[in-house]
């Protein structure tokens, strides 16, 4: 595939298949005009029926519902069928090397449900029989080892909630407002509680040679995804995870085994992990040279840009979730930082002229999404909504303009600039770039 932000891909794509994105992009506008659910996945628009409302007594209060185990593995209500991952088909040459986005505007709290976690694959989803899966450790170790999944699960286990953000999240927005919907501008992030074993313990089992400094993490997918990880990070807090939100990893998230690298860019979190090689220098793989390096305006490139800097976005209202009522409203959003905890989030309704501090609710954890709210009254005036995150290291989320001053517009990755949503008098909400 081309880069998601590759303009050639965008230009070519524009001429070819647009159908898929159209359907998705239109969803917000449909919702703006009526109270119906986006009809892309739910075939018929869902409408309210006064016969089910007081003073009437609806059928569901009279007849028996389904018995237990009607759905041995439960699913969301049929009225929630529009809450799905979406992709932008014309962005990439093939679905096997592509991305689908988390519907952030439909979620609340800090945990992303497993089936809605965005996907990014470079060679499709490997379907691995866990009985056949092996993790090899070789290189600068006392003894090269092979582990079965059962072996891995016999190590002491830990639980940790962390965000995973693709370094290319918001990468389409470097040159200005591009995609209408926080699902598309910010949906390459999810937040999950992982259960796994500290990588440190697994490495100690093989025994590190004194000159060990770097690890190569390798996936078992057909992209053979490989990234170099500094040993220091591996020993500090990196996990080998086999559960997400309590259940086995989803196949698209690397079943049966993936790496969790708290606070660092998603590409390092190698899925379908099959091998760890220990070495004394980085490998400079294609994924840390051709991709996941940040090209600056002067033609030089930054490499090993691991940390995901503090970032936030207002998820409601947003283009797919417009304002629908005057009077009392709840503005909601998420903030996160790979360098620590979120200390404060400020929100502006007037394009950055004036700010108020948002109310944070729910757990505030290191390298995890953090939820914020602002309760406000809307009387139909135009709004330019922004949010600005601050983290425990004192980092303040920069404006897009400030970022461009240092980076230019071709760095693709690590766009954590402040997002603006323009809300019109009719509530319709649009992705804009402001001065």
């Amino acid at each position: 595939m081309a880069d998601l932000t590759d303009d050639r891909a965008i230009r070519r794509g524009r001429l070819t298949s647009r159908r898929h994105f159209l359907a998705a992009g239109a969803a917000g506008l449909v919702a703006a005009g009526s109270s119906s659910v986006d009809a892309q996945s739910a075939k018929k628009p869902i409408v309210a029926n006064p016969k089910n409302q007081p003073p009437n007594v609806p059928d569901w209060s009279k007849v028996l519902g389904d018995g237990v185990a009607a759905h041995p593995y439960g699913k969301p209500s049929k009225y929630e069928a529009h809450v799905v991952r979406r992709d932008v088909e014309w962005l990439t040459a093939s679905r096997e090397s592509s991305v689908s986005f988390t519907p952030l505007h439909e979620l609340d709290g800090i945990i992303t449900p497993n089936g809605l976690c965005f996907e990014r694959h470079h060679g499709g989803i490997a379907q691995i029989n866990p009985l056949d899966h092996r993790l090899m450790i070789n290189g600068l170790v006392d003894k090269p080892l092979l582990f079965t999944m059962d072996d891995i699960k016999r190590f002491p286990r830990v639980n940790r909630i962390c965000f995973l953000e693709c370094a290319a999240n918001s990468g389409m927005e470097w040159r200005g407002a591009q995609l209408n919907g926080c699902q598309f501008t910010h949906g390459m992030v999810h937040n999950v509680m992982y259960t796994g074993v500290p990588l440190k313990l697994v490495l100690e089992e093989a025994g590190l040679k004194p000159n060990a400094k770097w690890l190569l993490l390798e996936g078992a997918d057909s992209a053979g995804m490989t990234r170099s990880l500094p040993l220091e990070k591996a020993l500090k807090d990196t996990l080998l995870a086999f559960k997400m939100n309590g259940e086995a990893l989803r196949e698209e998230q690397g079943y049966p085994l993936r790496v969790v690298v708290p606070g660092w860019e998603g590409n390092l979190w190698v899925k379908w992990l099959r091998r760890i090689k220990v070495g004394d220098q980085p490998w400079h793989t294609r994924e840390e040279t051709s991709k996941y390096t940040d090209l600056l305006a002067d033609g030089r490139s930054r490499r090993f840009t691991y940390f995901m800097d503090a970032k936030s976005v207002v998820t409601n209202p947003s283009p797919q979730a417009p304002l629908r009522y005057k009077g009392a409203n709840v503005l909601s959003g998420i903030a996160w930082s790979g360098r620590g905890t979120i200390q404060r989030v400020d929100v502006s309704l007037d394009g950055g002229r004036n700010w108020r501090t948002a109310r944070i609710d729910g757990p505030v954890l290191e390298a995890s999404l953090t939820r914020f709210y602002v309760e406000f009254d809307w009387n139909g005036q135009e709004l330019m909504i922004q949010s600005r995150a601050m983290d425990s290291t004192g980092y303040v989320q920069p404006t897009r303009a400030d970022l461009r001053k240092v980076r230019g517009v071709n760095s693709i990755y690590h766009n954590n600039g402040i997002q603006t949503w323009l809300v019109r008098a009719n509530g319709e909400t649009e992705n804009v770039e402001v001065s």
């Binding site: 647009r18 892309q40 990439t92 090899m136 209408n180 220098q281 040279t289 002229r353 649009e430 402001v434």
Partner: protein, 219 residues
């Protein structure tokens, strides 16, 4: 006694539980991988050539394989068909408004071509190429990119890592904590931060979200 110390103890215990250590004691998990098992999976190649297998291949041999197995996506000259990635061209374009990042214009080391094609290409039939085919393809891709102008070039485990790439010197380690220092320790402005706010661009007029200017369509 105040509650405070016992809370501290509980907290300390929680930390101990949160980060288990084995104090150097091995659990005896896993089994030793045999040399054959390691050799079969140990496919990575480093810029200094560590990991390159024995073998050789020429530009001409590479051209034949490339046209048969790669050109359908990457184009006859590596220019990229339709939306498939280009892997040649763009030399000197990195400071342009629209840079063209390819093997020749961007990649720092020649070994990456070998390592990446070996593990991931051809797309959908990965790990199918022999070392000789991989040397030949690497030679041809470097030739397509004018990294080598010698049509007779033969690459092997001895000379591949020595090929110099034009963009090698431009990569540097993450320096955000220095170059973006101003993003730290700021007291961000809360009131009257700017006089006016203008809309500079809208997602819809850029026409990247196609047709959203016109009536919404749902299909």
């Amino acid at each position: 006694m105040s509650k405070y110390p016992s809370l501290l103890v509980a907290w300390a215990l929680a930390i101990v539980i949160a980060t288990p250590t084995l104090a150097g004691k091995k659990l005896g998990l896993g089994r030793e991988a045999t040399p054959q098992e390691v050799a079969a999976w140990d496919i990575d190649v480093r810029p200094d050539g560590l990991g390159l297998p024995k073998g050789k291949g020429t530009v001409a041999q590479g051209e034949e394989i490339f046209q048969a197995q790669c050109a359908v996506c990457h184009g006859e000259f590596g220019e990229g068909k339709d939306r498939w990635p280009a892997i040649a061209g763009g030399l000197g374009s990195l400071k342009n408004d629209r840079p063209d990042k390819t093997v020749g214009s961007f990649w720092p080391y020649p070994t990456i071509v070998f390592d990446y094609v070996r593990r991931a290409m051809p797309f959908g039939n990965a790990q199918s190429l022999s070392p000789d085919e991989l040397y030949a393809l690497t030679a041809y891709i470097l030739f397509l990119n004018d990294v080598t102008k010698d049509p007779k070039l033969e690459l092997n485990e001895g000379n591949l890592a020595k090929v110099k790439m034009p963009n090698a010197a431009t990569f540097h380690d993450d320096d955000r904590e220095k170059t973006e220092k101003s993003f730290w320790n700021k007291q961000p402005c809360m009131k009257d931060c700017k006089k006016t706010v203008e809309v500079l661009g809208r997602a819809r007029v850029l026409d990247v979200t196609p047709e959203s200017k016109t009536a919404p369509r749902v299909d």
